[in-house]
């Protein structure tokens, strides 16, 4: 087997040597044979002649030997490719047009496929990724410690993604993404440092006792110019010096696809690294599962066994009163972590697969277009084929050569497509990153992507090349040869497949247009549904004054409250500011506050996010009240009776069919902030009255159900956090007010760092990044499909008009007016388009039925089979197609009967 292959390779690539050897061998034979005859007494000439006759023709023998080498197929293929390239170079316009439309199709496919690959399938660069599992649920530190120390089934490691305030040499860095990692993290993953050493178990023993950090390769390169002296340098994290002990390898970006943490700090350093946050190593006030836990099973341990063992231990750490397996405490689940964890995957996998289908259809349309062009071209090349067939070329040989031409075209398109895709992917990632944090994806081409593109290109070439090639070589030789010159002007039966292709194109582009209109309208609804008020004019400033982390320390909350009140008063004084308020988070945040426990009048206990606010919050951000009233300054006082505002989702779920206003719930979470002599929590149940209901903020979860939320005033909310977000509604241009706000913020408290100033509109756009992405891309691809289909239609009609010049001449000579001719062509075009629409609509309905769940998950307030949408798309298609058809029709009407008839 192998020797045969080597033999062939030698015959192919050492062709000259092999030929010379063949010559030598046969010459040797002839000489011997001649000598034999000479010895038998023949004359030299005769001996030579006999020897040659006995061999039976030197060239023939050589040719048979060459056939024995088994490289004939490859050789003729090489010939075909050479010929195809020459043919393509000879008609650069045609080649460029086809290559461009294929490049668009293949490039779009490659780009989306690469994104899917990067988000879904890339294996983590860690040791034995297949053996790595992750616990779906987060753990508290206590749970993690319990499970880690007491289980017999697995090795554990944990991490938590955080933002860190870093300064280098005294100057503050822009906020850095980082991770708190357990000491076992790097060893469990088998990740070795690029330089220095990794954080080890010994770096993670004593709370606040190990001020060491690792930085990422990217950060090292970007910020420190890859200087080895980084080892041993100190970075200041939230004011505490940390020593850099190592750099992670360049291919390591943590476990979350799309993220790129730059600093790694031991979990034990959490309170030091995040002073503005509660101490999560202690028992926090609120059940906060902040650690993502990685699991490597011990040999011989199965997943079900491990799940059971880990679950038992985890349950020990659940908060009191919540041990019943309620919906808030789903059972522990282990998921494979081999391809990384990703919220990105959850967010973008569905749109990416829908987009994959869309670009697949675009490619089909591009194929149909190319097939149409090739059909026309094949008609033009018929004399050439007829001649070659007449000279004895096999039909299969001709077909194969045409297919090679198509595949060469497709390969060219694929090549351009790959370049296009690389560029498009960068744009896409930038666009996807307009969300809350930058997305870092490994988009370097790998074997899978290369194979995909190559396969798509070849399949494309065969798909659009097969029909034209089969038709082109099925020629009735006699008439074809007889009228070599004016073949083009004969008959238009050859257009039949062209028409079918045009109808298909129209149908497919209608499909994409319907999709595009659907997604755009869904986005419009989503964006316009909630905040009818001008969202441009709300500024957002996150403020974290010193001490906002130590709310639990007696006296702090009152001080914070005074700071905030002063801030609000001064900001409200600024000219141009219409309203200002503070809230724990923006209305777009899907996790607005920590979950708190509340008992309904029915006696049921629920856990819902509790959000701290100041009065006027809802008016400032523009969330309308549905019923009741907003907070006033009386509600703000700690001593006032507890009151809350809930969102519609809460009212709907907890009090179905009832009016929630005035309902009284109870909570035991009231804290005592100010008097150190009293216990921190009152044991007493205290009533919380619902005073208002606000509209759901769909931005917090654009795709799914809005979660119930309770809003309470700053001093009444039971939480350890004290950071707030300043919301300012301005009257005019926000640009002029912004510096004043920053100034005032600093004046109230010079230690108050103000960062992340942007508008609510930006936040909302970021929250809708997935919707905008899919609406934008589907519109883009829909437009592309429309363009391709119209170009195809135009080409078909233009070709037909040229073919029928004589017919037009006769018609006009017999008295047909220009408008008659225009109408005739238009009618033909409209018939094709209507046929396409008639085909496309049922297909679209079928697709929405089959993939309904996929699509409707991406739609908001819209049915996939929406008549208005289908109508809009069909109308758009028909009008654009009519314009495309009008151009050749007009040309047909300009035919001069005299000229046309003379040519005929």
């Amino acid at each position: 087997m192998l020797s045969g292959l080597l033999y062939r390779i030698r015959a192919l690539f050492r062709r000259k040597t092999v030929e010379i050897e063949l010559d030598d061998e046969l010459r040797f034979h002839l000489e011997h044979q001649m000598e034999k005859h000479l010895r038998a007494g023949q004359f030299r000439e005769e001996a030579m002649r006999r020897a040659r006759i006995e061999l039976g023709g030197l060239e023939q023998c050589k040719e048979e030997c060459r056939q024995s080498w088994g490289i004939g197929l490859i050789e003729s293929l090489v010939q075909d490719i050479g010929y195809a390239l020459r043919v393509l170079i000879k008609s650069p316009g045609f080649t460029a047009a086809v290559a461009l439309s294929l490049a668009l199709g293949i490039g779009a496919n490659t780009a989306i496929f690469s994104l899917i690959d990067a988000v879904m399938w890339r294996m983590l660069p860690v040791k034995d990724p297949a053996g790595l599992w992750v616990i779906d649920q987060g753990l508290t530190f206590q749970q993690y410690r319990t499970v880690r120390d007491n289980n017999q089934v697995a090795e554990l490691a944990a991490y938590s993604s955080v933002h860190l305030n870093v300064s280098v040499d005294g100057s503050i860095e822009p906020t850095v993404d980082g991770q708190l990692v357990s000491g076992s993290y790097f060893s469990l993953l088998g990740v070795n440092p690029a330089i220095g050493r990794t954080i080890s178990v010994d770096d993670d023993r004593v709370p606040n006792g190990h001020p060491v950090a690792m930085i990422s390769y990217g950060y090292w390169k970007r910020r420190f110019g890859q200087e080895p002296s980084i080892l041993g340098r100190t970075l200041s994290i939230s004011g505490t010096p940390f020593t850099v002990i190592g750099v992670t390898p360049p291919e390591f970006f943590g476990l979350e696809v799309g993220m790129a943490p730059d600093i790694f700090v031991p979990v034990m350093m959490q309170p030091t690294a995040m002073p503005a946050f509660e101490n999560l190593l202690d028992n926090p006030i609120i059940y906060r599962t902040w650690l993502t836990t990685l699991v490597r099973l011990k040999p011989g341990v199965g997943v079900p066994q491990a799940t059971g063992a880990l679950e038992t231990l985890r349950r020990q750490g659940l908060p009191q009163g919540a041990k019943s397996a309620g919906p808030n405490f789903p059972n522990l689940v282990l998921t494979p972590a081999s391809t990384g964890l990703s919220s990105l995957r959850k967010q973008f996998s569905q749109p990416l697969f829908v987009l994959m289908a869309v670009v697949g259809v675009v490619l089909l349309i591009a194929c149909a277009n190319t097939a149409n062009l090739l059909l026309a071209r094949a008609a033009a090349r018929r004399p050439e084929f007829a001649m070659r067939l007449a000279l004895g070329a096999g039909r299969w040989r001709l077909t194969r050569q045409l297919l090679v031409e198509s595949v060469a075209l497709a390969a060219l398109g694929g090549l351009c497509g790959v370049l296009l895709a690389r560029w498009a992917m960068r744009l896409l990632v930038v666009y996807m990153s307009s969300g809350r944090s930058p997305i870092v994806l490994d988009l370097s081409p790998n074997l899978r992507i290369l194979f995909f593109t190559a396969a798509v290109s070849v399949a494309t070439g065969l798909l659009f090349g097969l029909t034209p090639a089969m038709r082109a070589t099925r020629i009735d030789l006699w008439p074809a040869l007889k009228s070599l010159g004016n073949l083009l002007s004969r008959g238009h039966g050859g257009l039949q497949p062209g028409k079918i292709l045009a109808v298909l194109q129209v149908a497919l582009s209608l499909l994409l247009l319907i999709g595009a209109v659907l997604f755009v309208r869904s986005l419009q609804k989503l964006a316009g549904d909630n905040f009818g008020v001008s969202r441009e004019s709300v500024l957002i400033v996150r403020v974290e004054p010193k001490g906002s982390d130590q709310r639990n320390i007696p006296g702090t909350t009152a001080r914070l409250d005074r700071t905030y009140q002063t801030l609000l008063e001064t900001v409200r004084e600024i000219p141009g500011v219409r309203m200002a308020s503070l809230g724990q988070s923006t209305p777009t945040n899907p996790n607005p506050g920590a979950a708190g426990q509340i008992t309904l009048p029915s006696g049921a206990t629920v856990r819902v996010p509790m959000v701290m606010l100041y009065p006027d919050y809802f008016a400032t951000v523009g969330v309308p009240m549905v019923a009741g009233r907003e907070f006033n300054s009386t509600d703000l006082r700690e001593s006032s009776p507890l009151v809350c505002v809930v969102n519609e989702a809460f009212a709907r779920q907890m009090f179905p069919g009832e009016n929630a206003i005035g309902k009284s719930c109870t909570t035991s979470h009231r804290q005592n902030f100010n008097d150190p002599t009293r216990p921190r929590y009152s044991d007493q149940e205290e009533a919380v009255q619902i005073i208002g209901v606000v509209k759901d903020s769909r931005y917090s979860n654009p795709r799914g159900e809005v979660q119930p939320v309770i809003y309470m005033t700053f001093l009444q909310t039971p939480t350890g956090r004290g950071q707030m977000v300043l919301h300012v509604r301005v009257a005019g241009d926000s640009g002029s007010v912004l510096p004043r706000i920053r100034e005032e913020v600093l004046r109230v408290d010079p230690t108050l760092p103000a960062f992340e100033v942007h508008t609510l509109a930006q936040e909302m756009d970021a929250a809708l990044v997935q919707e905008r992405l899919i609406a934008m891309l589907s519109s883009l691809f829909g437009a592309l499909a429309l363009l391709l289909a119209c170009v195809g239609l135009y080409g078909l009609l233009a070709f037909g008009v040229v073919q029928r010049t004589g017919e037009m001449g006769i018609r006009m000579a017999l008295g047909a007016g220009r408008s008659d001719v225009v109408w005739m062509i238009l009618k033909e075009a409209l018939l094709l388009v209507l046929a396409g629409v008639a085909l496309g609509i049922p297909v679209a309905l079928g697709v929405t039925r089959l993939a309904g769940s996929q699509i409707s998950g991406l739609l908001f307030g819209m049915k996939a089979a929406d008549p208005a949408t289908i109508g809009t798309a069909a109308l758009l298609l028909i009008s654009v197609a009519t314009i495309a058809a009008f151009l050749p029709a007009r040309r047909a009407s300009r035919v001069d009967p005299m000229v046309a008839l003379r040519n005929e």
């Binding site: 087997m1 045969g4 033999y7 040797f28 039976g56 023709g57 023998c61 030997c65």
Partner: protein, 110 residues
Amino acid sequence: MTNTRIDLPQGTLDLLILKTLALEAQHGWAISERIQQISSEVLRVQQGSLYPALHRLERRGWIKARWGTSDNNRRAKFYELTRDGRKQLVDEAAAWRKLSVAVAQVLDVC
């Protein structure tokens, strides 16, 4: 004399070449001479088909070629059997014997 010669049946040339090479390495011309001598000039080897057959056998890895010096001191391409070729010869020879015995039997009976 020419009339008594038999054209080789399809596929037997390969067998004869392998058998000829079983003794020693030979160049192409010697192979054709050898076959005719041994078969008492009964079998007629088409010289034109000998070389394609040699190349085909070489591709299949049953024989391999090397350049050497012939009796009269000229450069010649010598073929020799490979291990696979030897095995192939045993198999083909056995098959041929079986076939000829069977054919002979049929002819005798009828």
